[in-house]
Structures are given as structure tokens and as C-alpha cells.
């Protein structure tokens, strides 16, 4: 991150109501209270860390308005704000704009746009992108570099497709969709029929639909349906290296952590949360707002609101209890040995 903000700029961004102390440092980094050095900005986001404020070496600290308990050191400044976390978010948004400035609209001369593709005049098609025939790129959408958009694919407005991401033929992205580098939307589903000792491919001629505000992580893969659609609901966020099989239907506002794998034709209702490396078998239904802990192996339908973990996945409380009892197995075996001996003696 290349930050360079003066205390005055930061006061304007954060709307600090009051300041204490003075720093001449230009702020060039953000760090936790403990890790911060001179030149860094820090913040008290949670009252339980307040004892870390006095010893922090940060040049500038965002504090809640009711903070008491220390005075700024030499060359250090406190900013008092309504909500330090929100103030920090404002600063981060500002930095974000400088990290990724709005790109100029237009098609880079090295991009390959086939005949019959429609690029909105406000969209940006960056260097070395390929947009095949009949594809449509919406308003203000940004194809950053080396992106692939296949024939007839539809990309909505205000999307951001990062380097090496790919949208296969005929797939559809809503508005404000983000594809991180290497994400693959619409590769073939994994379907074969076993005929005379060989796996014969079942054509995969459906598509993928990502609704508005979906985000897909780096190198994640979402397969096209056999026919019909693989669908990811509005506002769902998918982390890196996640696999979504063909014909899967994911509801709105779900969270899929890294390396999750969802087998074909499973259904996730809205607000489902899957921890890292969770596996979901094919054709299952995960109820609304259900949660699965990391590495859970889900091999049966899950009730709405349930919290499951373990392999095979079971209610988390049961899983936790079984884990405790398993660790007591050596003792249990001994106790049964003793019982047998005692009984033999009676």
C-alpha cells in the first residue's frame, strides 16, 4: 500500500471532532496499536485494547470521543471520532481509490474484441483481453488485463474482472460482480456416462448466472450446468479456490470460505455460511442461514439455522462432545478392563 496522507487530510476524511497532541509526520502506513511505528496511523476499534494505547508508537491514533486514560506522547496526535472503525473505513476507502484509480473508458489497442461484441462506451477493456462475438459488456465495467469473455456472455454494469479471469460462452453476470484473478466462470460440468469401459462425456450446455453483487475469489471455479443454469444468488461472496459444481443453486448473501467444494446439483438457501475446506455432496439441500465449520463433510441435508461440523457433518454441539469423549477413550478402555477383572474375581 502506498499511503501518503497528512494529518490535515486525515482530519478532513475522518471528521475528527477534537484532537490532542501534534504530529508533523506524513502518515505512510496503518497498523495495530502494538505493531505501529512512527509514521503509522492506528486506532482503538475495541475498548478491550485500550491499555495498548499509551505505549503505542503510532504517530496518529483514532480514539472514541469518550476515551480517557492517556495523553499523546512527543510527536504523537490523538484524533477523537464518533466511531474509530468507521473512521478507519473511510480512510481505507480513500486509499482504495488511489490503489485502484478509476480506469479510462475504452478498448485498449491490444485487446481483441470480435465482431458482434457490444462494449458499452463507458466500459474499459484493458490490455490483451479477449471478448468473443456476441458478448456484451455493461456500463462502467472494467476488464482489467488478459481477461477472457466468451461468445454470447453477458457482463452487467459496474463489474470488475481482474487479470486472467474467464467467463465462458453464454454465461451471465449481473451488476457490480467482481471476479478476482484466475476465477473461471462456466467451465464444463463434470459429467460422464460409463459406456463399455470408457467415460463418455455428457454435453454440458447450460450456463452460469451470477446475480448482482456476487464476488468470486482468485482461481475459484464455477461450472456451467448440464442444461439450465448454475446460479449464485445476489450478494453472495465466494473466497479463493472454491469449487461450485454444475447445476448448483446458491441463494442470496451466502459466504463460502476458501477451498470449499460443492458437488453437482446441491442447493444452498439464503445466508448459508460454509467454513474453509468444507465439502458438500451432490444433490443436497442446505437450509437457510445454516453454518458449517471448517473442513466439515456434509453428506446429508441440513436444517435451516443449523450449525454443523465434523465428518460426517453433525450438529456442532454433538461433534464437540464426541471430540471430548474420544480423547477419553484410552481411559474408557482401561475402565472396561478393570470392570472385567473385578467381575472375574467376584
Amino acid at each position: 500500500m502506498s499511503i501518503s496522507l497528512t494529518p490535515e487530510e486525515l482530519r478532513a476524511i475522518t471528521g475528527a471532532t477534537r484532537t490532542s497532541g501534534q504530529t508533523h509526520a506524513t502518515i505512510t502506513g496503518i497498523a495495530s496499536l502494538e505493531a505501529a511505528e512512527a509514521g503509522d496511523l492506528s486506532f482503538l476499534g475495541n475498548a478491550k485494547y485500550r491499555t495498548a494505547v499509551p505505549s503505542s508508537r503510532a504517530s496518529l491514533i483514532l480514539l472514541p470521543e469518550d476515551y480517557e486514560g492517556s495523553e499523546p506522547g512527543e510527536g504523537q496526535c490523538y484524533f477523537f471520532v464518533k466511531n474509530p472503525s468507521a473512521a478507519l473505513a473511510s480512510i481505507c476507502s480513500r486509499i482504495e481509490q488511489s490503489l485502484w484509480p478509476k480506469p479510462q473508458a475504452g478498448v485498449h489497442p491490444t485487446a481483441v474484441v470480435e465482431a458482434g461484441a457490444e462494449i458499452d462506451p463507458t466500459a474499459t477493456v484493458g490490455p490483451l483481453c479477449v471478448v468473443e462475438e456476441g458478448a456484451r459488456i455493461g456500463a462502467r465495467t472494467h476488464l482489467q488485463a488478459q481477461v477472457f469473455v466468451g461468445a454470447g456472455a453477458q457482463v452487467g454494469d459496474d463489474c470488475w474482472l481482474m487479470p486472467h479471469s474467464a467467463v465462458s460462452a453464454q454465461c451471465t453476470l449481473g451488476n457490480r460482480v467482481r471476479l478476482h484473478p484466475g476465477a473461471v466462470i462456466g467451465a464444463d460440468g463434470f459429467g460422464y456416462e460409463f459406456v463399455e469401459g470408457r467415460h463418455e462425456k455428457i454435453p454440458q450446455v447450460g450456463t452460469v448466472v451470477l446475480e448482482d453483487d456476487v464476488e468470486v475469489g482468485a482461481n475459484s471455479t464455477i461450472d456451467r450446468a448440464r442444461f439450465s443454469q448454475t446460479r449464485v444468488g445476489e450478494g453472495t461472496k465466494i473466497d479463493n479456490l472454491v469449487q461450485v459444481g454444475h447445476n448448483v443453486v446458491i441463494g442470496k448473501h451466502c459466504i463460502l470460505c476458501s477451498q470449499v467444494g460443492i458437488a453437482g446439483s446441491a442447493t444452498l438457501e439464503d445466508y448459508v455460511i460454509l467454513g474453509g475446506q468444507v465439502g458438500v455432496s451432490g444433490h443436497l439441500r442446505i437450509g437457510k442461514a445454516a453454518k458449517a465449520g471448517g473442513q466439515a463433510g456434509v453428506i446429508a441435508d441440513v436444517e435451516p439455522g443449523a450449525f454443523i461440523s465434523g465428518y460426517p457433518a453433525m450438529p456442532h454441539r454433538l461433534a464437540s462432545r464426541l471430540q471430548v469423549l474420544q480423547r477419553r477413550l484410552p481411559d474408557l478402555f482401561k475402565r472396561v478392563d478393570q470392570l472385567e477383572q473385578q467381575l472375574a474375581q467376584t
Copy 2:
């Protein structure tokens, strides 16, 4: 999928022997009996769903010749065919051809083909591909876009390498091999020697050989051998995000589901099937037609024909039995408590 087929065209494709009812709708989608809307085609692939036929809103339904039990509704048509699933497959194949029309032979002007690379005149090298020196691309093979083929690599006939797939130097692909987007063939094996507190790289100078009809999923990775070859046998199908380590030998007609990981120098005999997220330790042998359930952790050799699951992987029947008994652990602990109390009282 952008389908647009008239009932007349569909009758010709499916060879329907008889029809009932009439629709004027152009068919623009395929869906299950329950999900279908006007304009969709549906089908009765399995007799157990026959009760869903009368209420289906599909404009056109493929039915077995002996179907009885309902008449088509207003604006709906039944097609009677020998095998509805086979008829559907014919339709899907037709759609597939329009989804991915045969590309024109030749090298796109934006592709970079180094001196000494041999491109068959019937092959297609799409936009922004790189083919390094000494590589050979076979007849009718299609490098779609932004594909990388390294120095001296050999790609056979009728292959399809999709966007952002990569074949590293000196690797070999047989005929009819498909690489989905982002697949990486021939990255270095993961081999180091620990020398004086540092991991020194062991050169990985072998190759990867993919035999005929191998398919590799999106963003899967198959590492080159230390020396000699990492090899994937004829007809083996590999799903997305799968890792195959260096010097692994995979037999013919295996199935590796998504996110499987196979450590170095393991051997899979023919017809092995590994479920999603299965892990196989290095230097193991998995016998012919053995199957491993999802998330299994294979840490020992597996007998031909075995069906294993769990961690560490064990015969599936044993794993299932242990899962049942584990859930009865709370009860078992109570029973042992009671036995001890009883015995203390006698």
C-alpha cells in the same frame, strides 16, 4: 445457453415416432419437469417422476413410447421417443455445436508463435496465445485464447486447450485431450533438500504425459516429474482444482473429482475413482477400480476393488459402523459409569 429450436427441428433431431398436442413455441430452454416454464423443453428420464408430467408447464415434453396417464395441455406437445434421455442427449449435442462452433483453422494475428514451432495447418491458434519454439500442435487442435504452450511441448490431434491453460516445456498431450481454463500441465514438482537450514531446490527435469482422451478441469495442476514422467492414462477424467504431484502415475479411465490431491510418486491403477477432496499420500498404490469416498485421507496402499472412506481411510463399511458407534459414545460412557457404580455396591 442460447437455444432456439422449433418443434419441427426437435422432431427431426429426436426422431420422435409420435406426437400429441401442439405447440407453436420456439424452444429456448431445457429444464426439469417441475422447473420448466412455457418455452422450455422437458423430459421424463426416469419412470419414478411420471406423476410430474401432467402438471409440467414445459411447452414440449419427451416421453417414452409407452407413457400413459395424461394428455398435453393447451399449447403443449408430447414427443414419444424410444429413450427420452438419449433423445435429450442428441438435442444437447446439437446445442453444443452451436455453443462452440468449429473454429476456423489458422493462427490468429495476435498469437505469438516462436520460430521452430510446428502448427498443423488444420489447427487453430486463437488470439493472444503463446507457442514457444519447438512446440508441435496437431491436426484440428484448438488453442482457444491466451493459451501457453512451452518449448518443445507436443500437443496431439483434436485437442482443445481453453483460455489461460498452460502446457509447460517438453510435456506431451495425446489426442482429443481437453484442458479447461487455467489448467496447468507441467509446473515443477515440489522437491527440496534441507541443507544447512535452507530448502535447496531439487531440479525437476522430467515431463508430464497425458494420454489420449484425458480431460483436465479448470485450474487443476499436474506437476512434471523429477526426472522421467508424471503420467495420466487414456480416458482418465480430472475435475477442477485437482493436484497431481510429480512422478504420479495414473492408470486408464480413472475419475478424480474436484479438489483431490495426490502426493508425489503415488500410483493409481486403472478405473480408480476418487471422490471430492480426497487426499492420497506419496508413494502409495491404489489398486484397480478401487473407490474412495469424499474427503477420504488415504495413507496406505489400497486393494483392487476396495471401497474406502474416512480418515485415515478404511473399508467404507467399517467407517460407517464406527460412525454409528461414535454417536453412541455418550451412552457408552454412561453405561460404564453405571457398571462401576453397580459393582461398587455389590
Copy 3:
């Protein structure tokens, strides 16, 4: 691998002190003693395989100087060397140079280098690479083909970035860093706040720092920090399809095997080794030189030097013991049944 080395060249490379027998074969492959064919070179790397020497069909065999027990066959030659493994390594290094010859310095005419990017004159920017404004590429560094380096990113000296790898804006790579095909450095961390039923994105404005001699495998992903840095220590080696979350700090000389996933803000001290498919929860600390077996689920801090495995991860000895006891559960249930019956009869 395309080897073509004469026995004379190999004698020079290996510094063989003595030879026995004679071969006219040009060596075109390397294989184990058992797998080798005429034209191959083989070697006795470990004394326990010495009985495989007499029957090996290799044209040339590297043997330790004190080897006794067989004479070379017709058209076969033995080379006696101080250390056959070291001699083989010398040969492999030679082959490596021919596999990946030193590229010519300079920027390929099809690469897109934005204004304000600094490319060292000894660096190579290969075909169809993109280097955004303000990025810096160090001496002798090689961007092979179709690589992406974002705005303001810093790539050190003697690095090798392979096809389709990506370094996002402002990230920093030290010297001698290798990114394998499809590796993604600096995608957004996975951070959201749940506000009024929607997941609002938390800006991810930090960076990633890869120190000297780090190697990142094919299609692995390392996320940028929320603010501050995600950091990978000197000499750490990361295999394929590994996920490293935002704000993770990895020490020096660690080994992360394929498909490992490390959640946000976890810390790995130096010399940690994680087996394939290991998952590490967020905010944990893994002590120096700790090891985790394949598929371990690490959900608590780990002591330095510990060896853990299983789910949830526990000391490996305990995990092994519990596995043994679990397999004896059917028997234990029977024994408790019998105890109950016996006690009922007394």
C-alpha cells in the same frame, strides 16, 4: 525432457573416477534401476537397492566407488562416482539449463509496459505480459509470458514469473522469487461486515510481501492484507493450490504442501511444515518447526516443535492411539454388553 548426452559428456559432468564396460548409446532418459531401458541413465542412490543393479537394462549406471557385486552387461557402462545422488543432481542441473535456457534480456514487442514502469535492462519481459504503471522489475528477472504485474508492484532481482501468474498492485517480491503458472499474489482479502442483511465489503488496502527465495506453486493464492502486510518469510516454499489468507504472517523456511489453507491473521513461525490439505483457522499461532500431518484441521495454537495430526488437530501420537482405539470400538461395545449381562445375572 529432451536429453541427449553422450557418455563422454556425462563423464565430464559427473567427474567419474573410473568406468567399467562400454556403451555407444546416447543417453536420452533417466529412470530408476528397474524402469530403465536401453538409452537410459540410472543410478544407485541408496545401498538397499544394490540387488537391482545387475538386472537393470540402463545403458549407463552411476555407482558409488565401493560398489561390488556385478559387471556391466553387453553395451552397458558403469560410472563410479563419489556420490551417485550428487552426480545425478549435476546432470539434472545441466538438463535444466537446456530445458529453460537463459532468456534474452529485453521487452517483447507484444508486451504492454505502461508509462512509469521501470524494467531493468537485464530483465526479460516476455510475450503478452502486462506491467502497469509504476511497477519495477529487477535485474535478470524473467516474466515468461502472459504475466501480470500491477501498478506500483516491486519485483526483485533474479525472479522468475511463469505464464499467467499475477502480482497485484503495490505488492513486493524479494530476490530469486519464483511464481509458478497461475499463482496469484495480492488478490483482495476476504473481509465483509454484515450490515442490514448484506455483506458489505471491507476495503483490503494492504499488500503482500514475499521475501527472498520464496517459491509459490501453480494456481496458489496469497491475499493482500486488510491494511499492513501479508508476509511470507525468506526461503519458504509453497506448493500448488495453496490458499494464504489476508494478514497471515509466515516465517522463514517453511514448507506448505499442496492445497493447504491458512485463514486470515494466522502466524506461522520459522521452519513450520504443513502436509497436504491441512487447514489452519484464523488468528492462530503455529510455533517454530511445528509439523502438521496431511488433512489436519488446526483450530488452536500449536507449540513449537509439536507434531500434530487429525481433526481437530492433536499430538500425532495421541491421534494415532485414538485411531487404534476407534477400530476397537465394536469390540468395546460388545464387552460392555457382556458386562451388563453378567452383572444382571449376579
